[in-house]
């Protein structure tokens, strides 16, 4: 029996790695998740055959309760809200790792000091990931609107973290584990997760979610060692390292270091902001439509605002219309367009935009000077030339799409307000820029109308 279980876990581990591998190419990505899913199914079913287990009825109930709630919420959530759902599910994983450690600590039957240490470390990481992910969810869901900061916050957080470490050490080195110490340890670890995530601004949340994802993986691996479960060790470690790399890639795309994201607050330090020269010049949809219809090359730069306005379907309709007129249309995707790297691609894919029309920053930046019209919809900071030119700007140094180098720029925007970062955008004041004021979806509709009438 033990052999069958071990072999099944081995097969599950192989399926997880192959699944992740397939998920890393757009061509095979769709069945990658099915491979990984098959691995999960095998591992879960075989675990019911584990010798010496009881509580089967409660166990099945728990799987049913958690599974149905997650299935229902996962099916229902809008594509724009995906990042916070990932945060939520990730937090649940961290919480589960913490719960495993709690049960093992209460039982107190550890084979060696090493296993005890791993159990406690896994519990610490899992608990921080759990409460931190809940804050990340609340922030992206709009339940917490402002970053919460107070003087001396870093030192306070450091103190809480040290207390958590102290309690962890007590658990590891005291021979008789007292229930009260275990309780205090989990309470402080959870509190640290809350405190750590609270001061971080909404724009930085994706990096933090990715970091928590990696941490949960690590916590799962540690508990895997404790339970002597190879599938957990391998899958957890793979996610831990993959997640760490992904976090680095995301932070790099935003020109921020991970330490900077975690321990400083965006925009709070910002120096004197140079006044932007010029004025915003409006245009109406009919003129904008004509410009695009008679252009040779058009690049569309979508931002999160487009998805919020649910304009992506209209934009694709507009694209098809332009392509019928032999206009070369491309989509330029900034690495942090949307709420996470790749989020915009998902949102456009939902509107049936084929992925080979989408271009990365590196692929498309050289094309802007030969482009007749750039249409910016719902994007702001990622096209702000101040990031290139103004060392005083808080976003200076962030890689941007060079929309300002195109012959003409049309910006669809609700009003004259500033972007997510609160920084004034020099592009909107440029001589070759025209502002098309209005709701993204309505304006895209009017552009379509204008081109159809030609």
């Amino acid at each position: 029996m033990d052999n069958i279980i071990e072999i099944s876990y081995f097969i599950a581990a192989v399926l997880f790695i192959l699944g992740l591998k397939r998920m890393s190419s757009p061509v095979t990505a769709r069945d990658g998740i099915i491979w990984a899913g098959a691995g999960m199914l095998v591992a879960t079913l075989i675990t019911f055959l584990h010798p010496g287990m009881h509580n089967y009825v409660l166990m099945t109930t728990a799987i049913f309760v958690g599974g149905v709630a997650a299935f229902w919420s996962g099916k229902k959530v809008a594509m724009t809200d995906m990042p916070q759902m990932i945060a939520l599910y990730n937090g649940m994983g961290g919480g589960a790792a913490g719960a495993i450690a709690a049960v093992e600590l209460l039982k107190g039957e550890f084979h060696s000091q090493t296993f005890l240490t791993l159990a406690v470390l896994g519990a610490l990481i899992g608990s921080v990931s759990f409460s931190g992910s809940l804050i990340a969810f609340a922030k992206l869901q709009g339940l917490i609107r402002r970053p919460m900061r107070f003087p001396g916050q870093q030192y306070f957080n450091l103190a809480v973290f040290l207390i958590a470490l102290g309690l962890a050490a007590t658990l590891i080195f005291s021979p008789n584990l007292a229930g009260l110490v275990i309780l205090a340890f989990f309470a402080v670890a959870l509190a640290y997760g809350f405190l750590m995530a609270l001061p971080i601004g909404g724009a930085d949340m994706p990096v933090v979610i990715s970091l928590f994802n990696a941490l949960t993986g690590l916590a799962v691996a540690f508990e895997g060692f404790v339970l002597n479960n190879a599938a957990m060790i391998i899958a957890g470690t793979v996610v831990g390292s993959a997640g760490t790399l992904l976090t680095q890639l995301m932070a790099k795309a935003m020109n921020r270091s991970i330490g900077n994201v975690l321990f400083s607050s965006f925009g709070s330090s910002g120096g004197e902001e140079a006044a932007v020269e010029g004025s915003m010049k409006p245009i109406d949809a009919a003129d904008a439509g004509i410009m695009m219809a008679y252009a040779e090359r058009v690049i569309i730069i979508p931002g999160y605002g487009m998805a919020v306005a649910q304009a992506q379907h209209k934009i694709w309709e507009l694209t098809e219309l332009l392509r019928k007129r032999d206009v070369d249309v491309k989509f330029a995707i900034h690495p942090v367009a949307g709420r996470m790297p790749g989020h915009m691609n998902v949102l456009l894919a939902e509107a049936n935009v084929p992925y080979d029309l989408l271009y990365d920053l590196d692929e498309i930046n050289a094309a802007f000077p030969q482009t007749d019209v750039v249409l910016v919809i719902g994007a702001n900071d990622v096209v702000n030339p101040s990031a290139r030119t103004n060392p005083e700007s808080p976003i200076y140094g962030m890689p941007i799409l060079d929309a300002d180098k195109a012959h003409n720029v049309i910006v669809i925007k609700r009003g004259q307000g500033k972007g997510f970062s609160g920084v004034e955008n020099a592009l909107f004041f440029a001589d070759n820029t025209r502002m098309l004021y209005g709701d993204g979806q309505a304006m895209a509709g009017e552009l379509i109308q204008a081109i159809k009438e030609l």
Partner: protein, 96 residues
């Protein structure tokens, strides 16, 4: 029993595997892949089941129950959202 150096070797090789699998990924797949890896650590369900299966006292059972429910949420939710995102990846050329 996986012990000592063997455990360390498994840990090291798995870490390199994770790094290699992700290192050549186009940006467009970052979100689905983060979601996919989020699903993969849903394997914590297996551990939660074992922990609950051996739980004795009512307190252990309650915590075990919570653990299994949370882990099932991680696995099922992670799968559903990843699958929803990935099913939309289509090429403009020919089939899908």
């Amino acid at each position: 029993m996986i012990e000592g150096m063997t455990a360390l070797y498994i840990f090291m090789l798995s870490a390199f595997t994770g790094y290699e699998v992700i290192s050549r990924v186009p940006v467009i797949l970052h979100t689905p892949l983060m979601s996919g890896s989020n699903f993969v650590h849903g394997i914590v369900l297996v551990g939660a089941m074992v922990a609950m299966g051996h739980a004795q006292s009512p307190l252990e059972q309650v915590i075990g129950f919570l653990g299994v429910a949370l882990a099932a949420g991680n696995a099922v939710g992670g799968y559903v959202v990843t699958e929803r995102m990935l099913e939309m990846f289509k090429s403009s050329k020919g089939k899908n």
